[in-house]
């Protein structure tokens, strides 16, 4: 009898062990989902005037089945104040990277993912969200995000390099406007501060051309020199230009310039400078 009880106990114990091992073996064989953690991003982002800048959104990807099980990492960067994660890409508020770069694994299960975005100069100034997705070979995925990737305000412009008033005789004013096209090279609407220098020639013996003889109208072409235009000054002076931020095509507007020539001035070429500065749109 004792022998039979002992056998029973032994077989029971073996059975329990086998059942446990069977259960354990079943758990080890199931696919593990990737985990995204430790997201960092370029912050703040300073855009480049009328150009692009490459920024990063990085994370560590973990897969319990081993890092090699991760077959794709992608990321979305968007401005949640003006669009949704699932929206189409827009240089102003939505960027995607469909194939982030995986770095060298740091363990059997962990590997860094580097997600770059080439941001245009007119990407919204805001706190953007960067969300990184990891997918493994079993179709499992994981994601994580940060919401405070700040893109700074870029207030910038590009003006044509030169304004040529042509040839004028003494004591005359420009019969027609000399135009200068200004491009918004930033990510906010802008007005202008304008200033300038006298137009001079080093060999002039009688007169140069005062900066105030240069006049502008930043909104309306064909204005009368005396009555419809503002004189330029050596001191930066605000002009209400309201050049919108770019959304699709370039955001440009013309400015209109004329010059008045003194009554007595030598036959020379006089040169100066006008400084266009982007300022807050009011």
């Amino acid at each position: 009898m004792m022998e039979r009880k002992l056998k029973f106990l032994i077989f029971s114990a073996v059975g329990i062990c086998l059942a446990f091992l069977s259960m354990r073996a079943g758990v080890l064989a199931g696919p593990a989902s990737p985990l995204v953690s430790g997201i960092t991003a370029t912050d703040p982002v300073n855009l480049n005037t009328c150009s692009t800048v490459v920024i990063w959104c990085n994370a560590t990807i973990n897969d319990g089945d081993g890092w090699e099980d991760i077959n794709n990492v992608n990321a979305t960067l968007w401005d949640p104040a003006s669009t949704a994660e699932g929206s189409s890409d827009s240089n102003s508020n939505h960027y995607t990277n469909s194939s982030c770069t995986l770095g060298a694994n740091v363990s059997f299960t962990d590997v860094p993912a580097n997600c770059s975005f080439t941001l245009q100069y007119y990407a919204n100034p805001a706190d953007w969200t960067c969300k990184i997705y990891a997918n493994d070979t079993s179709g499992n995925s994981g994601s994580s995000f940060i919401t405070d990737a700040t893109i700074n305000t870029l207030r910038a412009l590009d003006a044509e390099n030169a304004i040529d008033f042509g040839s004028l005789v003494p004591d005359s004013t420009s019969p027609e406007d000399a135009n200068n096209t200004v491009t918004n090279c930033g990510n906010v609407p802008i007005d202008l501060n304008l200033s300038g220098t006298d137009l001079v020639n080093a060999s002039a013996g009688i007169a140069n051309i005062s900066v105030s003889s240069v006049k502008h109208n930043v909104t309306a072409p064909g204005q009368d020199y005396a009555a419809g235009m503002s004189p330029l000054s050596a001191t930066p002076t605000y002009a209400n230009f309201t050049l919108a931020k770019r959304t699709n095509g370039l955001s440009i507007n013309k400015t209109y310039w004329k010059i008045g020539v003194p009554s007595v001035i030598e036959k020379l070429i006089y040169t100066g400078t006008i400084t266009f500065t982007a300022v807050d749109d009011n």
Partner: protein, 287 residues
Amino acid sequence: MVKHNLIYGIFYGAVLLVLLAMPFAFGEDVSTSVAIGNSPPVVGTVTSSDDFAPPTCGNVTAWCNATITDANGYNDIKIANATLWDPASTTIDGSDDNSTHYVTRCFLNGGSGSAINANCSFAIVYHANPAEWTCRIYANDTSSNVHNNSKTDVTIITLRALDANNTISFGTLSPGTSSTADANNTILNCGNVPTDLNLSGTDLTNATASVTNISVGNVKYNITTPDQQYTTSMTSLSATSTYTNFTLTKRTSGLSLNNTYWKIGIPASIENLVFTGTITFTAVPDT
């Protein structure tokens, strides 16, 4: 030391945060240029010497002046010339001839700003026509633009003048005789109009003479024809100025001159002395 490092660290960190928080703003310098073109010169009001007469058989400097302006500055005025002419007898394009037409290059001085003075002087010869002359000043700039202005009432007044040889020597004559040959005196028109003559004279005297002198009436002349008979074809000089029709033309190119012919008659009784007197030639209007 640690405390200082902490303070510096906080400070630089704060500066960095401020810089990062600042919105980026950019401006751009645009070059401006204008080429000043040519403006022609302008000759202002012409002023001149007026009512002037050249000196007898000499020259006088007359002038025409103007202020020339050029909006490109006085240095742009390259040259100024002037023409002075008698429009009643020639044109502005006539040739220089001393009588009716003069051209001169002006002296530019006193430039300032747009203006410079043009001083145009002419050496006017004595036979320049008595008339209302016109003076026109031309200014050229460096771009070959030309402007002119004129003054039409530059008056040269009449100069009626002559020059005679200084002496008439009748040579040696015996008492009771007269000159066998003419003593000539050449008269030169030294003015700017034709002239006739007024003639007068004095007795020929010698302070030591006790018998007689030679009366002015013994001096005779013929102002047109030489070798005339003393008694029948010559006119006696008088102490009173007497008109004679000489018609000595105004000079045009060469000198305008004519001879006058003189003889003298000697009293029958007269001492052996040298007697001297004076003849006065006066230019008078040609009639």
